[in-house]
Assembly symmetry: C2
Homo-oligomer: 302 residues x 2
């Protein structure tokens, strides 16, 4: 087996991707507390909000207030999703460190999710990318459905490579490969990355795994074996999956850190602090804690 | 990465290891149905019961009746746990295809679990092994706490190797390495198997993973990369974990098969049939289905 990376970078997506997909309301103050506690635990990148129309995503309507009230740490990068130029301008006004745009690897998903083709979505991002470049703010690209689509089923790795290349050509410094419905296995990761790594450096790719089928940690492990070292995850597994009710969404940050600790891969994150945050936010939202590690440690005190 | 085995063998432990650790009562008829349905789904080995004192394990008091009433298939091996000579004799009378004995890799766990030292437990098995050999019945050895003990914490791989060697010397054809409290990660699997494979062939080792910390599938994947191809699992994740209340126990067979299917590793097992069985037994026991795959497929019909 190839040697694993010595360090990994966690992109905590709970405050945005997680909360956006939770049905329970959450106050601005609780969001601010969540972001601050995550920052204190050692998480280096926190997706803190989304600058989109509150008509589309009511849970993110207060992202500007969240940015205005968090305690900014120099060693933490606070990011936001900005699907259009108006969103970018609001994000820049809020003082974001980085923004993100998103596209799908599946035409059907793109049409049903954002009502346009993949290429049309990329055209819409062009002015966002230009304005972000002018402001000196790095842009991350998300690609969804990289290992399967709820409408099309299997997705060819070449389709993922193509849309990723276009995002890179537009100026993204990194592409996060999203298994949006959590159907991929380590076999799919291998097939996908064998194609992707012919065009991209592992350092420019991240994995964004959902744990719907319980495969997320194994997929992250397989990605580590391919040299990837950036992983999106969500505290307490925040974030449901609209395509699999009752099943879980984002992989829990606690579970990823437990795995990485066991592998000797450094993250600089305090697992005990994370577990406490996961229990706190789960209680606050009156939801089940979807972290296996959180439940195991919370249950028996080991 | 090393090539993975082309085929894997699943040892279904739900009817014994699973049900034994469930608090809900279950009728003999339901046990028989469970075993028969698992056999029909293509599972090649089914741990069907345990021949121990009903004072110790009331859930297994009817193992002889279960063996008497199941529909025996020639292509399925029906096994039972036999901790002593009396149990073995009952098991042989019931017509088991294979028996199993167990020891711990942790002295503290051995003392607290079965009130004797590891070596004393092995001495007790000697007559069981002899009688099984006389009857021509193969014996499997379980080793518990191979990657951690609830009393001692970390367990040295050499301790696992030592007790495994003694079980092999006594006549076991295979040793199943149990992560009894589910604390191991892929890093622990690598450290353990790097030691074990100096003394044993991969074909004589199995992994028995608990999913308490969500690491089971990743550990199985890491074991596959080391050439192991025999894995214990439990339909619907049957079996709690007495050391981590609220957390899950055995890894779910459905989840393992989903992983193996994605890796192109053949098992001959019908995943759809397994998912149906998992939902049925969960309903029958009025418990949560602990298979991620079962919940995902049951939830959205994918």
């Amino acid at each position: 087996m190839a040697a694993l990376p010595k360090q990994a970078r966690i992109i905590e997506v709970g405050p945005r991707d997680g909360l956006q997909n939770e049905s329970q309301p959450i106050s601005t103050a609780d969001k601010v507390t969540l972001v601050n506690r995550l920052a204190q635990s050692g998480v280096p990148v926190i997706e803190t909000g989304s600058f989109v129309s509150p008509k589309w995503v009511p849970q993110m309507a207060d992202s500007a207030q969240v940015f205005a009230n968090i305690e900014r740490r120099q060693d933490v990068r606070y990011t936001a999703l900005t699907p259009n130029l108006r969103g970018l301008e609001s994000a820049l006004a809020a003082g974001v460190d980085e923004v993100a745009v998103f596209a799908a690897a599946s035409e059907s998903f793109s049409q049903k999710n954002i009502n346009c083709s993949i290429d049309e979505s990329l055209e819409r991002f062009a002015p966002v990318m230009d304005a972000a470049a002018d402001a000196g703010v790095p842009v991350r690209g998300y690609v969804s459905c990289v290992m399967g689509c709820p409408y099309e089923g299997d997705i060819a790795p070449e389709a993922v490579r193509l849309v990723s290349q276009k995002l890179m050509d537009l100026g993204c410094y990194e592409v996060s490969l999203g298994d949006t419905i959590g159907v991929g296995t380590a076999g799919d990761v291998k097939r996908l990355l064998d194609v992707m790594l012919k065009s991209f450096d592992a350092g420019n790719l991240a994995m964004h795994c959902h744990d719907t089928y319980g495969q997320a940690l194994t997929n992250i492990y397989a990605a580590l074996e391919h040299g990837l070292s950036s992983f999106d995850s969500s505290i307490a597994g925040l974030g449901g999956c609209p395509y699999a009710r009752g099943a879980t969404g984002n992989v829990a940050t606690e579970d990823v850190i437990y795995l990485l600790n066991g592998l000797g891969v450094q993250t600089g994150i305090d697992l005990g602090a994370l577990v406490d945050i996961g229990h706190w936010i789960s209680r606050t939202l009156n939801r089940r804690n979807n972290s296996r590690v959180g439940n195991a440690i919370g249950a028996c005190g080991v």
